[in-house]
């Protein structure tokens, strides 16, 4: 069993004026090279968990560790460099007044990666190409792109510092159905090519099944089931997981077999 790269131990997060904790004693461990899906419905605590793992929010109790070290003992620049994130809606995650190149180059500038301006520009061109955009798209602005392309820009920004872990918060649910598949394929391809470890938060088990080897099912701030995706999806133990699986709208099965 490899050492987890990112882990949470007994994470609890309470918010003022809420009777129930948003997160209630959650253990999570992300091992290098094993993509993990976090599944649940609204109010399950998925996004709260993601924010804790991302170090933009602190747990009320419990601890997040990066490569075995508690987060407050890790150099922030090192952590940010290694752990990056893609948000749900690229319409709000990209500053409308910045060019694509400066958006994608932001982590490089802020984390002082790259020897000089030219080196950073080269890296920006490289990641834009990696997500299927053209280097010259860097001169344009987010509103000139479609939803799917904008999400590619957000992915390029996350990839720029060459992180080991990529957190993704519902990365396709704000996109049109026909574009979703392209973004899923892109993520899956990047995971393979760059050896990324993906932590995918989604309400959609089907998408998690496409991208993650392991899955964690959450409900009301707790983990109700976890394990290899194939096991959880085919032999769910928890009652709620079963309900969740049964609720997914399906095309007629004989049609799928024909394909």
């Amino acid at each position: 069993m490899t050492e987890p790269i990112l882990s949470g131990h007994q994470l609890t997060r309470r918010f003022p004026r809420r009777s129930h904790p948003a997160l209630d004693g959650v253990d999570i461990s992300v091992r290098p090279g094993v993509s993990l899906g976090i599944v649940g419905e609204s109010g399950a605590g998925k996004s709260t968990l993601l924010r804790l793992l991302l170090g933009v929010d602190r747990p009320s109790s419990g601890e997040v560790r990066f490569a075995g070290q508690p987060l407050d003992r890790v150099r922030p620049r090192e952590f940010r460099r290694q752990v990056q994130v893609v948000f749900q809606d690229p319409r709000s995650s990209l500053n409308p007044r910045m060019s694509v190149a400066s958006i994608v180059g932001e982590p490089l500038r802020s984390l002082r990666i790259g020897a000089d301006r030219a080196a950073r520009a080269e890296r920006v061109a490289e990641v834009l190409t990696a997500v299927g955009l053209r280097p010259q798209d860097g001169r344009r602005y987010p509103h000139e792109f479609s939803g799917g392309q904008r999400q590619r820009i957000a992915i390029a920004r996350a990839l720029a510092p060459a992180p080991r872990v990529l957190l993704a918060d519902e990365p396709v649910s704000a996109l049109d159905v026909s574009v979703r598949l392209q973004v899923i394929d892109l993520l899956s391809d990047l995971v393979d090519r760059l050896g990324l470890t993906l932590v995918l938060v989604s309400h959609d088990l089907a998408i998690v099944s496409q991208l993650c080897q392991e899955v964690l099912v959450m409900r009301h701030g707790r983990v109700v089931e976890r394990g290899p995706t194939a096991d959880v999806l085919t032999r769910p133990v928890d009652e709620y997981t079963r309900t969740l699986l049964a609720a997914i709208p399906q095309l007629p099965t004989d049609l799928l077999e024909e394909q």
């Binding site: 922030p76 940010r80 709000s92 995650s93 500053n95 910045m98 479609s146 920004r157």
Partner: protein, 299 residues
């Protein structure tokens, strides 16, 4: 069905962009506002190099004369040319307006940004201070300062600047807080961007349009405040000319020379209405939603 039916979000998205008026640079309020303001600015600028008469040049033979070829705006009770006074008054108004807006923004913007960027405690404290200053009438503040330091242009500028700065701080705080809730600020954090850089790179570019509109409105407030202070004898001290003092001096002779009251009043109105219209026009142009939507949907 009696419910409002145009609420489905997709529908609104699809519809909102094309049906809104996009007059941009040709908006009537922008044009009229600019013209009115240009008139005031021109009077102020020309007064630097030329006025019809000297400021204290009195013509005792033509006291309280009506508008004529010699005196375009008539004369006051000492026989001084009113148009000269109006021009010099414009200079005072513009100078005090611009300086106090500068003071207001120099104080208010950092305060508002600080409140938005800092934690809850600082934010609550700043919000409290802002509320107190807003509740405290600018004129009263000015009177206080004048009692302590005596009437002078500097005191007037400080008093108006401080009074208006609260509004600026409030607006900066609100608009910056809104930007802070955007995912791109969170994304910037996760890119390791520091808070000061986030303020400069992400927040300011997204709120300066709003602040610019506020600046035009603040200029109008400052012009009125200056006129009121001078009217009360608390603003620009003589001999420096001021529309407010012109009004005050003319009120005893309003029966014989009504134009002496009308014209400075009109000058104040032109400046204030002009700058407010300009602000409205700028708001239409500055709304990034209005501008980007079209291009976004064009794809």
């Amino acid at each position: 069905m009696t419910t409002p039916l145009i609420e489905a979000s997709e529908t609104v998205d699809a519809i909102a962009a094309p049906t809104r008026p996009r007059r941009g640079w040709r908006s009537p309020s922008l044009i009229v506002g600019s013209v009115l303001l240009l008139v005031v600015l021109a009077l102020a600028l020309v007064s630097l190099v030329w006025t019809p008469y000297g400021l204290d040049q009195a013509d005792p033979a033509a006291r309280l004369a009506g508008p004529s070829a010699q005196h375009w705006a008539g004369t006051d009770r000492l026989g001084r040319d009113q148009f000269t006074q109006l021009m010099l008054g414009a200079r005072t108004a513009v100078w005090i307006g611009v300086s106090s807006v500068a003071v207001a923004f120099a104080l208010g913007t950092p305060l508002g940004l600080l409140a938005a960027a800092a934690g809850r405690l600082v934010d609550d404290a700043v919000a409290g201070v802002i509320d107190i200053v807003i509740a405290f009438p600018t004129l009263l503040l000015a009177m206080l300062l004048v009692t302590v330091y005596g009437a002078s242009t500097t005191v007037a500028i400080s008093a108006i600047g401080i009074g208006v700065s609260a509004e600026v701080a409030r607006l900066a705080r609100i608009s910056a807080s809104r930007v802070f809730t955007q995912d791109y600020v969170l994304a910037a954090r996760t890119c390791g961007t520091s808070t000061p850089v986030i303020l400069i790179r992400h927040v300011l570019p997204n709120i300066w349009h709003t602040l610019l509109v506020q600046a035009t409105l603040a200029f109008g407030v400052a012009v009125i405040a200056e006129a009121s202070l001078s009217y009360l004898g608390l603003g620009t001290p003589p001999p420096a000319p001021s529309w407010g003092r012109m009004l005050q001096e003319a009120q005893s002779t309003v029966g014989v020379a009504p134009w002496n009251v009308l014209l400075p009043g009109l000058a104040v109105a032109v400046a204030v209405v002009g700058v407010n219209l300009l602000g409205d026009g700028l708001r239409e142009i500055g709304d990034p939603q209005l501008r980007t939507r079209r291009r976004a949907t064009g794809r």
